[in-house]
Amino acid sequence: MIVNLPSEGAHARPARATLRWLADWARIIHFGAVIAVLAFSPSSYARDNRPALARQIVQGTVPVLWWFTLLSSLISLVLIRIVVVTALSYGLTRYALEMVVRVLVLELIPLTAALFVAVRCTLPDGEELAAMRRSGALEALTRGGVDPMRREVLPRVLAGVFSAITLAAVSCVVSLLLAYAVVYGFTPWGFAGYTRTVGHVFNPALSLIFVLKTLLFSLAVSVIPMASALIDPPPSRSRTSAEVRGLIRMFALILLIEVASLVGNYS
């Protein structure tokens, strides 16, 4: 009996971990549902909440927009040049532009934008929320008659979603312009062929998957860090911080979305 006790504990530990994992994801989904309801209810955008929302949107987007646009332009330029020169050397120039659009705009830029927003915006916001939760600031807001979900959480989530979508949109447009300039040069005569190629790549199914992927990426990088900050136990009861747990969950979800989009696009 004494010998069997550790094995029983060893069997019980994964089961408890699995149950806790499932419960955490259920809480995250519930949190996401609450945020969705709040986001679609007009009272969340009342006059009292607007300044907080505007501040989060501006602080979450403006500082990273220029840097990210610049970095993504440089990386896009290098990738476009590599793809075009390689395609030229193999005599496959007609596929170069299509490949550039597919690789950059459809695959790389939404993922990079989401990760950039997560690192620069939503993960620090989640840590900020966790600190407020630890310090009791959220409870103080509740006692003061202010809903912390509307005042503090929803603006951060919406700012993350907005930032991720804006960064992806701006970078996609800049990359498309760079691709045109690299392939055709600064001349308007390639516009018709370029437009036709872009139209050929963005068929309805692919466009739908692209929009859904970008939206889901932005939701993943925005909701999960906030949810982890609010639902996870305090650090004294856990070996890892809420920020790290949120990061792991966020990466797992992004990976899942990316795999699903790849299956949808190329299967």
Binding site: V58, A140, T195, R196, H200
Partner: protein, 321 residues
Amino acid sequence: MASVKDAPDTPAPVRHLELKATLLLVLLAVLVFGSVLYLMYARGAFEPTQRLVLVSEDSEGVVVGMDLTFAGFPIGRVRRIELGEDGKARILVDVPRQDAHWLRQSSVFTLVRGLVGGTNIRAFSGIMTDPPLPDGAVRSVLRGDSTEEIPRLVAATRDLVNNLTTLTAENSALAASLSNVRATTEKLKGPQGAMGVLFGDGKAGQQLATTLARTNALLARFDAMAVKADAQVFGAGGVLPESRETILQLKGLLGDARASLQRLDAILLDAQAVTGNVKVATTDLGALRADVEANLRKVESLVNEVNRKWPFARDTEIKLP
């Protein structure tokens, strides 16, 4: 315990916050709507089109959205692919109205599959003065599939290899011929050489050798005869010097004969003159003869008259019975 005021309001205030937030929202809206409009334009949503139906035995490689090209320029886009009632693939192509004038009623459409790359649908309009292709026109598409040639090529290559194998087999005709060639070359290298190849090693060869020897002897005799004939013909008392002297003599005789003939010519001239005189004399003789004949007729008629009038004249009247 934290109060309501000191927790959330710690960040520094942002200048022109509302304006910046509005600008960001407007920027995102412009980007999203602009991208949607551009993609719709790129997909041909805003241009009027006409429908062209291409009928093919096989639509493999054709995908929705691929281009119909004319002279390398895309002028249409595949919208749908469906299987017709007759079991043939119907490829529905939308051609923008502004590009439709490149397609004529005599236009030919091809579906080409390359080894590398995708399938291409091409249009060829040879006679641009033909009437334009109407909306909803149905045309057969010609297939030019390079991969379809591969099985045929493989089959032909296999036949070729089989033939080569048969040719190069151990007991093949080519091997037998080669062995014969080898035997022949060995004979050529042998003591009898090509003669041995032509006539073999038996009696025929010996006879040929004997014939050759006798021919050689015959040729030697001919040679001796030629020497003698040379002496007889071209020697000091040979035929040729004597012939030369004879020819000289004949030349002298011919000169004499020429002189004789000149004299004869003069005689003939004289004779011609005499003949002319005789001819004149003969003319006079004709007139004289006519006179004589006239006189004779007169004498005859006179005698006849005398005979009639003479009493002893015979009765010349003939009485019929």
